[in-house]
Structures are given as structure tokens and as C-alpha cells.
């Protein structure tokens, strides 16, 4: 019997998820021995036409990382969806929209203005902007369409499983591959990580106070971070209490607060809104003005609480009243 076929693909991502696959180190040899990698643009020289030539459902699993924000990415993931039995959203960007998803606080025009005209390092005297098509003597050149709204993978195609993390921890990748090879996958729609808050596996757990009451919120550079004490108790916005575990609490171990890349635990419907509820109520004051003052130390609520999750949140993107009457995704 031939080995099961597996594909890897990247969309709007940084490449860290590809690194994570390589981080399997010698374990990757076991994977390569057990499966046949038929498509992996970062590492292997297969072309789109190779995938097109396959039968529908011929690929057993496609691991797709990155958010979806262009017509090209859309076309590729639709193709892989057709050719695959199982699609796994790999990493925070595919899972929840990730850091590229923060672009949803702007629109396409604002982004193009910023990148091609306003950024301090840009000189663009000819006022060049990307065009979808450009005629040259030797033919027409085309570029993919940049979307107005960044989307998570499951907002574009059907997704069976999610491997969270920025990037997904090696341990979870190994477990997922093991589950696929042994056919012991959980119910479709599952996130392949424990549904328990990060605090439970954090080494600082015992120093977490029963009742969290904070007079001030701090950013890591503002204080000398104690190595043993609960980071939240030190005033740092550690998102451990609402974030899934599975990363071995890597950031708190490195003396940095959790930023929530593993996504919310199962019962949370909106990571950012939940975080607002959880962290705002820790402000230790009953006075209107003092509450405003304490909470003003949370400098960037969207960037902090929706760092990896804006497209998958209930708001999805910044509301654009200019398109009134049209449904706002």
C-alpha cells in the first residue's frame, strides 16, 4: 500500500509555522518515513499543476498555515480543499486570523496609502500602486487581489482540525501526526490542544493570588520582572487564564507574559471580549475616574487582547459605516 499523501501550504504568515515543522528535528524523519509529502512550496519543488493533476481527495491531510487575505491564497486553499480529505488549520493565523488579522482595524485603501505613500521610509514620487493587471509589450502581467478583510482559514474553506500556536508547539504537531497516522483523530472541528487554561501548567501557578486586584497594569519593559511570581500579579497582562495550554507555558518560563497565541479555551466565544471582561474587572477601584486611569494603562486593547484573534472574533473587523446597508462581515 502506498504511503498517505500530505501537503503543506502557507498563506498570509511569517514562515514561523514552516520552521515549526522543521523543528520536529529528527522526528521529521519518522514523519517522512510514514507519509509521502506531495506539496510543500517552502521546502520542495512541486508546482500548483502537480496538485491540479491529482484526483479529488487524493491528499490525506493538508496542513495550511497563514491567514487568507488575497485572491491567490483563496484559490490555492480552495484547490487544496478539493484535493484533501482533511484540512488542518496550522498555527494562529489559519486558526483565528493571527497577527495579519490586525489589519482588520484598517481597510485596504488605508493600508495601501500607508505602505506606498505615508511610511517614513518610502519615497514614491511616481505614485506607483499595485495594479491587478499591467500591459507590457510581451503580454499582460497580473497580481492577486488584496482583500479588504483578512480572514481565518475556516471563514474561507471547510476545516476539520485546528493546531493552535504561534507557531504550534512541536509536541502538539507530533501528537497530531501520530493521531492521523493511527487514525485516532477526535471529532471534526476539534482544536488539537488540551482544553485547559495555561495557568494550570504554569510553574508560577502557586503564586497566583486568589483574588486578582491590580492598581496598575504594566508592560514588560516598565518593570523588573520577578522570575518566580505570577506575572499577572505583577501587573503584566498575562493572558494565561483564558488561553489554551499545550505550549509548556513557554513565554512565562522565559519571563514574558502569555500573549494568547494558543487561542481561547473551548467555552469562550470571543477571545478579545472575554479578555476585556476578565482584565477590566481586575482594576482595583470603585471610583469612575480611577477606573478610567487604571484601565488607560492598557494602552492598546485590540492589539493586546485580539493579537491573534481579530478575524475570528465576533466583530471580525472594524465597522465601516461607509458601506451602509451592506452586510458587514
Amino acid at each position: 500500500m502506498s504511503k498517505p499523501k500530505v501537503a503543506f501550504y502557507w498563506c498570509a504568515s511569517c514562515g514561523g509555522c514552516e520552521e515549526a515543522v522543521v523543528d520536529l528535528a529528527e522526528d521529521i524523519l519518522k514523519v517522512v518515513a510514514a507519509v509521502d509529502i506531495v506539496f510543500w512550496p517552502v521546502a520542495l519543488d512541486f508546482k500548483k499543476s502537480d496538485v491540479e493533476a491529482m484526483k479529488d481527495g487524493e491528499i490525506v491531510v493538508s496542513f495550511i498555515n497563514g491567514a487568507i487575505r488575497s485572491s491567490e491564497q483563496h484559490e490555492m486553499v480552495e484547490l487544496l480543499r478539493r484535493k484533501s480529505q482533511v484540512v488542518i488549520a496550522f498555527g494562529s493565523c489559519a486558526h483565528l486570523g493571527g497577527i495579519p488579522g490586525l489589519a482588520n482595524t484598517f481597510d485596504r485603501q488605508e493600508m495601501i496609502q500607508e505602505v506606498y505613500f505615508k511610511a517614513p521610509s518610502v519615497t514614491n514620487e511616481e505614485k506607483m500602486v499595485p495594479q491587478l493587471a499591467y500591459d507590457t509589450p510581451s503580454g499582460t502581467l497580473t497580481l492577486p487581489q488584496l482583500w479588504n478583510t483578512v480572514k481565518s482559514l475556516d471563514q474561507v474553506i471547510k476545516v476539520e482540525y485546528y493546531l493552535p500556536g504561534c507557531p504550534p508547539p512541536v509536541k502538539l504537531i507530533n501528537e497530531a501526526v501520530g493521531a492521523i497516522l493511527s487514525g485516532k483523530l477526535p471529532a471534526p472541528g476539534s482544536v488539537l490542544a488540551p482544553d485547559i487554561a495555561l495557568c494550570e501548567e504554569c510553574e508560577r501557578r502557586d503564586t497566583k493570588p486568589e483574588k486578582m486586584a491590580l492598581k496598575s497594569f504594566k508592560r514588560p519593559f516598565e518593570i523588573e520582572v520577578d522570575q518566580k511570581t505570577c506575572l499577572l500579579a505583577q501587573g503584566l497582562l498575562c493572558l494565561g487564564p483564558i488561553t489554551r495550554q499545550g505550549c509548556g507555558s513557554a513565554c512565562p518560563k522565559g519571563n514574558m507574559p502569555c500573549t494568547g497565541c494558543m487561542g481561547p479555551t473551548g467555552r469562550i466565544i470571543d477571545f478579545g471580549a472575554k479578555a476585556i471582561s476578565a482584565y477590566a474587572s481586575m482594576a482595583d477601584s470603585n471610583d469612575d475616574q480611577e477606573i478610567i486611569d487604571i484601565l488607560s494603562q492598557i494602552v492598546d486593547p485590540i492589539g493586546t487582547f485580539h493579537r491573534y484573534s481579530l478575524p475570528a472574533s465576533q466583530m471580525h473587523r472594524r465597522y465601516q459605516p461607509s458601506v451602509q446597508g451592506e452586510k458587514q462581515p
Binding site: T105, Q131, L143, I268, I269, D270, Q314, R318
Partner: protein
């Protein structure tokens, strides 16, 4: 009221109200037998305490078609559970900043302390808020499902101009 309707193309705001069981909901109950009339635009959800109201509920209300959200809790110091209303106050403070960054007018979210005896305040607040949201106009945040999401994806792909003029 008919004037106001004409001003905004007959727009009738939908307002979701979360009232705490011990104070504001009781006050709303009091307004009824006392025959105090208030705008019918408010749909009341009873919760045990304003401290139970998660920011997720409020965003969900907006997402599912509310044009405004009204929170009613006990006066400071009167919370049946000691400090639930303070928690609600802290959450609403941060949520309003979030809404502003997300392009939604913070006036669409209002929080009021209304004691069990203040039926007249329920009437006043609901009427005021209905009028205010009417002035703000409708919020077109419609419920979303995956199929719609996919339709939207199809639409994104046919938008033509990428750069446009600077």
C-alpha cells in the same frame, strides 16, 4: 414620536437591555403596574447581577442586530453580591474604548444605576436612550454564518480596483 421616525426613514432602533434581577429588573416591573409608558424598542434580558454581563454578550448583541445595548444595575454600594456592579462598570469602561477603536459609537452602550424603587428612572432612561440611538441611526452589523462568509469571499474577489488614486 412620528417626527423622529420621519427624520430617520422610519428607523426604529432595536435595543437589548440587560437588567439585574435585584434592582433594575424589579424597577422595570414596578414601572408596569404603575402604567409608566416607555418606548417599546427595548428587549430586556434579566440577569442575576450586572456583574454577570460579559463583554462577549454585548458584542454578540451588536453582532446579532442590536443598535444599542443598555445595562442596568444596582446603585454603587447596593449590589446584592457586594461588588458585581463595580465589575460591570470596569468592564463597560474598557469595552467603550474597544468599541470606539472598532468604529462603533460608544453612545450605543449605556450603563445606568437604577434601584428597585425607581420605575420612573427606567422609563426616563429607556426613552432617552431610544431617542439617542434613533439619532445615531442603524448599526448594520448583521448576524454572520459560514455560508454568508463564503459568499462575501466570492464578492471580495470581484472588486476591481486595487490601488486607486492616492
Amino acid at each position: 414620536m412620528s417626527d423622529a421616525i420621519n427624520k430617520n426613514n422610519g428607523f426604529e432602533p432595536r435595543i437589548v437591555a440587560f437588567f439585574c434581577n435585584w434592582c433594575t429588573y424589579t424597577a422595570a416591573d414596578l414601572a408596569g403596574p404603575a402604567r409608566m409608558q416607555y418606548a417599546a424598542n427595548v428587549r430586556v434580558v434579566r440577569v442575576m447581577c450586572s456583574g454577570r454581563i460579559d463583554a462577549q454578550f454585548i458584542v454578540k448583541a451588536f453582532r446579532e442586530g442590536a443598535d444599542g445595548v443598555l445595562i442596568g444595575g444596582c446603585h454603587p454600594g447596593d449590589c446584592h453580591y457586594q461588588e458585581g456592579n463595580y465589575k460591570a462598570l470596569r468592564r463597560m469602561t474598557l469595552l467603550k474604548r474597544y468599541m470606539t477603536s472598532m468604529g462603533i459609537e460608544p453612545e450605543r452602550l449605556r450603563m445606568e444605576w437604577i434601584a428597585a424603587s425607581e420605575g420612573d428612572k427606567v422609563q426616563k432612561v429607556i426613552n432617552q436612550m431610544t431617542e439617542q440611538v434613533r439619532q445615531l441611526g442603524p448599526l448594520h452589523l448583521e448576524p454572520m454564518n459560514v455560508t454568508e462568509m463564503h459568499e462575501h469571499v466570492a464578492k471580495e474577489n470581484v472588486t476591481v480596483v486595487q490601488g486607486g488614486t492616492p
